[in-house]
Amino acid sequence: MSILKLAFASVFVCALVAAGCATVSDKTVTQQDLKTIKASFKENGQAKLDRLDQDEAQRLCSIAPSVTIAKADAARVEKMNLESIKYPADGKLMGDWQQGERIAQTGVGKQYSDNPATPSGGNCYACHQMSKAEISFGTIGPSLYNYGKLRGTSVEMQRYTYGRIYNPQAYSACSNMPRFGHNDILTEQQLKDVTALLLDPKSPVNQ
């Protein structure tokens, strides 16, 4: 049994024993908490209750930013996520930067108020500065302005960039950036298009 499973099992046992269990910290989400959480939501459209079932990365990363995740857990999260990255079968990683710009501009998708038939956006501008022209950008992520100009467009760079967008937690455990490929937010073609937006020398990102 892995350490993680052990930890989980002990939380479960403690929850059953209820009061006075020393190993459950105040901040651990217990089985009882999970029940309370599920009972506090109702499904609406595409947003079903299974969205509250956390995967391992989500569970390990549900901590205050001031608390650093244990080194071993971070490594685990990154390994697990790295293994999930699927590169396109045709080997091409760069799509159309103009489509990429559209994808970067829109944040629609996956909310219960969104039409599931409409393709999701990446909303990159919500968190990143990307081009000079777009001054309405957020700051949760670092500036990506001149990303390709500074780093070049080598095959390794393309693979890094595609993978970084497909699953940021492969490189940075508990990243605040969504796992766009891993969680099926963007399609393979869309991932190629935003990769091109970052790397193509003609893209506004690199002007």
Partner: protein, 274 residues
Amino acid sequence: MSISMFMSEYKCVAVAMVMVASVFDASAQSSAVDEIARYRAQLQDGNPAELWEARGEDLWKQKRGPKNVSLEGCNIGKGAGVVKGAYAQLPRYFADADRVMDLETRLVHCMVTLQGFSYADATRRVFGSGSNRSDLEALTAWITSESKGVVMNVALNHDKEKEAYNLGEKMFFFRGGPHDFACSTCHAESGKRIRLQDLPNLTEKKGAQLGYTTWPAYRVSQGELRTFQWRLNDCFRQQRFPELVFGSEISIALTTFLANNANGAAFNAPAIKR
């Protein structure tokens, strides 16, 4: 309410919309909060929230429901019928319901127990839209306005209050859904923004005070008065979670967490926001 009231409501919205348009034409780099502060100042004496407040006061005093009584017998924390300053101490534990309640769940409780409404009827329209007005939003607008300037003082004395706070804190950091978002993704660092919208750091005293004490608010972009239950509901929607149930344990827990973190600041709502 009279037609003239609707007219003035409409005019306020129109004026505010023009201001919003000009805000976004102007230097978009400048902080959206500054802009909001500016048009809040411009609308100082005419926050449309007052329309909700006036209707709420009437609703509180009117005899309503199957039992035909007013809500003046309702105890929202400081004794039956006492409204002044009550909101600044909510959520809190209520022994008669044996649970922690925020203002809105407490109002529903009174509508059911005092006025005889069914729970379904009392919660039929928790968020209004256009002519489908919400009585709860109006009542909340009035009652919160009676705490304007009162220092926030949400106690964690009862075990259930402490439990609610702890659960709220856990939920704040709970990641889930297709985007891996938690409240903390957007609200746990200072000086961050989404597009041009400044994000309060709700894990810090200052941010929690700013973010909590300015709700309910009249939302210019929606032409509606929105309560804290609505704020939570809509952040969960953007978080790609399923829909938060009105008055649910998680909604009370998060409210307790944030309201307690705001202790010490003067309550300053209903406000006016983007």
